[in-house]
Amino acid sequence: MPKSRVPKPPVPKPLKPEANVSLEFLLVTFPEERSVQANGSNVGFTNHTLMLPADEYNVTLSGAGYAPAAQDVVLTGTTVMQPRVVIFSKP
């Protein structure tokens, strides 16, 4: 007796096609708004999801009075709804 066919769930379309530039997403949290720096360049503000190319970054904030002083972040495998979350706090 043939098995009844169960419809397969639709395969989600990949958000990121193969390319040299692959966009990833980063959310840096801090109690106040600061500029976020990736490898020394300003890339956006704290508490807002940011777009960045897939890579390894040294993440810091503008100004003083935050901890830790820097975080090494490997940005890969994220989605816009599931960004890599990096937490800074006041010391």
Binding site: K16, N20, N39, H48, T49, P53, T76
Partner: protein
């Protein structure tokens, strides 16, 4: 005439070969870095930021870039209570070879002088000028005395016709667009973009550099022309290397990339870019020893200047800071306009039973890899644009890029269709326009017509005009624009 050019070239090559190389850049003195004075104007959030890539292809490419920029100046919209032309929103122009002539001209003189480009550069018989210079004994001895080479003849042409000894300081001014001329580093094959940041790497003065040298470096077609020689003032071998150059720290992004554990696996191209910058700076653990640089036509690495545009959009180190503006929501409309003047005249090879000769083979060897590389890099831009659109569409409430719209437009003669009689005729004619520094009046009209038609017919251009509320563009078809373009 061909014999006289060849004889001239031989004489110039022989005589100039006797002198020491004339390096065409200047050391950075009294300051550790070049100043970047240009900024993106994001004062009105509704304005599009237009990024343009203009390909190589001699005067055909210069003419196509010129025609498209002029077409952008025809359309106005209301912003901040005043009328504004689309051409005023051109923020970045990245160019190669022939495209660099119009790119630098646009940056130097601005949109209001675009009409003058035709009598100053497109109308004159520039090839005749080059031929006269090449066979003139005065040219040979001038080059011999100065240690310059054949490329100097082309630089002289650019200076005489359009740039008049002006320097990059004239391009690097507040309110000007970012003009990025791209050359190929002969030894490494890397794209060398003429930017203040890249000049920092070789500790050379960006402002002092003549524009004609940058354009000639971008357009130094191999063999026909000699490469443009630069000295790397970051090198210990440079006698004039200043203490300032030697004492400079390596920028953090370079160190992070070349020492990071994951970088080479996540983005090998970015890793190589950082490694190249480290090599230029004579940083630790260098891959290449770079004391001198020899630049050839930028089209050898990327014939539309897309590499530099990709960096401007997605790299934290982009000189325009566009990524920061996108992430902070202060730029919400981006138009990417790639203008490719690739010719493709019908070839007798595919209709001949005779084995192709050496000239046909040399033609294929020089054009096929350039076209293939360009197509590949263009495809990367398409992928990046799609990622930006998807990111904006799926953005969570906290993201400030949720309202970003990206209009991606490619101008390519191949878009003229064979099933429409007018377009077929135009396509066949425009693809046969030769690559040279002279373009006939008839060919110029053909290129102009093709450029205007391809821009106006593009669904993403029509969609931008609709979204901006541009009046007077009767050709806009709302259904076509909304179906063919989802910014």
């Amino acid at each position: 005439m061909r014999c006289s050019i060849a004889l001239g070239a031989v004489c110039v090559a022989f005589v100039s070969g006797c002198a020491a190389t004339h390096f065409e850049n200047f050391p950075l003195q009294g300051k550790p870095n070049n100043e970047e004075r240009r900024r993106i104007d994001d004062s009105q959030i509704d304005r599009p930021q237009i990024l343009v890539g203009i390909s190589g292809g001699g005067s055909r490419a210069a003419a196509l870039g010129w025609a498209v920029l002029r077409e952008l100046s025809q359309y106005q919209y209301q912003s901040g209570g005043s009328s504004r032309r689309l051409v005023d929103d051109v923020t970045v122009v990245s160019s190669v070879s022939g495209g660099s002539v119009i790119a630098a001209y646009f940056g130097l003189y601005g949109p209001d002088k675009l009409d003058a480009f035709k009598p100053e550069f497109l109308a004159p018989d520039n090839m005749a000028t080059l031929e006269r210079s090449a066979v003139n004994p005065i040219t040979w001895f001038k080059l011999a005395i100065s240690g310059a080479s054949r490329i100097q003849v082309e630089e002289d042409l650019f200076n005489r016709q359009v740039f008049h000894q002006r320097t990059f300081a004239d391009l690097n001014q507040p309110g000007k667009p970012f003009i990025i001329l791209n050359a190929s580093d002969m030894a490494s094959g890397e794209v060398f973009a003429f930017t203040p940041a890249r000049f920092d790497d070789i500790c050379s003065d960006f402002d002092q550099e003549p524009i004609a040298v940058g354009v000639a470096a971008s357009a130094a077609f191999p063999i026909a022309l000699t490469p443009v020689p630069f000295r790397n003032y970051s090198s210990d071998a440079a006698a004039t290397t200043s203490a300032t150059c030697k004492a400079r720290p390596i920028p953090e992004w370079i160190t992070e990339h070349v020492t990071g554990r994951y970088g080479p696996y996540l983005d090998v191209e970015e890793y190589k870019r950082a490694r190249y910058a480290n090599d230029l700076r004579h940083g630790p653990n260098n891959f290449r020893q770079i004391d001198y640089l020899y630049f050839m036509d930028g089209g050898l690495a990327d014939n539309v200047g897309v590499h530099s545009l990709l960096s401007e959009i997605s790299s934290p180190e982009g000189i325009s800071g566009l990524l920061f503006k996108l992430n902070t929501g202060s730029v919400r409309r981006v138009m990417v306009l790639l203008i490719n003047a690739r010719s493709d005249a019908p070839s007798s090879v595919s209709t001949s039973p005779t084995l192709p000769g050496i000239i046909d083979m040399v033609g294929s060897v020089t054009s096929v890899p350039i076209d293939a590389t360009t197509a590949s890099v263009n495809a990367q831009m398409g992928v990046l644009v799609e990622q930006l659109r998807q990111a904006a569409k799926g953005a969570p409430p906290d993201a400030l890029f949720g309202q970003l719209k990206v209009y991606s437009i490619q101008i390519d003669f191949d878009q003229l269709r064979g099933n429409i009689a007018e377009q077929k005729e135009l396509r066949d004619k425009v693809k046969a326009v030769p690559t040279a520094w002279t373009i006939s009046a008839d060919d110029l009209l053909t290129v102009e017509k093709a450029g205007r038609m391809l821009l106006d017919d593009h669904p993403c251009f029509q969609r931008l005009l609709l979204d901006l509320g541009v009046s007077g563009a009767q050709f806009v078809d709302r259904t076509f624009a909304e179906t063919g373009c989802s910014p």
